[in-house]
Symmetry: C2
Subunit: 148 residues, 2 copies
Amino acid sequence: MPRTTTRTTLAKRITSRGRRLTKQRVIVAQALAAERQAISAQELHQRLHHGHPRLGLATIYRALEAQVEAGMATRLERQGHVSAYVACVSEHHHHLVCTSCQRVEDVDETILRPVLRGIRDRHDFQVDHERLDFYGLCARCRREKAAL
Amino acid sequence: MPRTTTRTTLAKRITSRGRRLTKQRVIVAQALAAERQAISAQELHQRLHHGHPRLGLATIYRALEAQVEAGMATRLERQGHVSAYVACVSEHHHHLVCTSCQRVEDVDETILRPVLRGIRDRHDFQVDHERLDFYGLCARCRREKAAL
DNA sequence: AGGCTATTGAGAGTCGTTCTCGTAATGGGG
DNA sequence: CCCCATTACGAGAACGACTCTCAATAGCCT
């Protein structure tokens, strides 16, 4: 029963750190996980409004924030002062954002290790956390553009 | 006459792309260049208010934006939905932000080259531009903390 | 089941940023 | 050097994303 397993995992993640398992949080978590691109709280609100008309915007903000705290998602700043959220598939949180289709991929962490070492050695700087977002064209969009 | 040279360079940068050379833009550009750390528009406004009481906040926003367009500065997003601006010393725009003293250093660009190559090769992704901000403790603050 | 407490929904409030508009200043052309 | 179209400024209003408030509701533990 893979579905049950999935739900259990989701529930466990949501309820970590003493949080309660509410319908709203499950809805938001599932919607974000289903999304394969970065999405803002407002977009999520609009998208969920059909099936869940009473789901409030503030609740979505709170649910997304809870997911970030639980390590289930990351927030990335988009141009225009709007934050967007992405569900995390893995532990590391660096992204390739396609400027054409808005899809987001995770960056292979091992690529970054030499950079962190270089910063420590060359700049004498101790990195606690970093935000690395790369913007450009993913393979699919590049092929589509080339086909035109 | 190094001062004159400096002023001329500044004026040239400001007037690039058909912009006009106004007192306000010079004031803001000099203030930002003098600043060795990231600073928000509002902070700049407060700081300049003594010497220039009539300098409006909107003007500072516009001047900073013009500097970003002219390549004289970059905007980086700070936590809490406030943007901060840093004058650019060099061409590349990646930063080491000290979370203790808020000072900003530029990252040596050569460190990043392998990462861009890795992304192109491993992820089949064409990077157009990227935002790399590293947060942590600079050498000075680390020594100060160790001395306690 | 029952109660303690976290969470929700709705809207008001906050705050950074941008827009508006009347006024002032800039810089190119006579 | 002065005119004048055009750009920029200042002040405050407007905007928009996000957060807070508070009464009502719903999880979770025993």
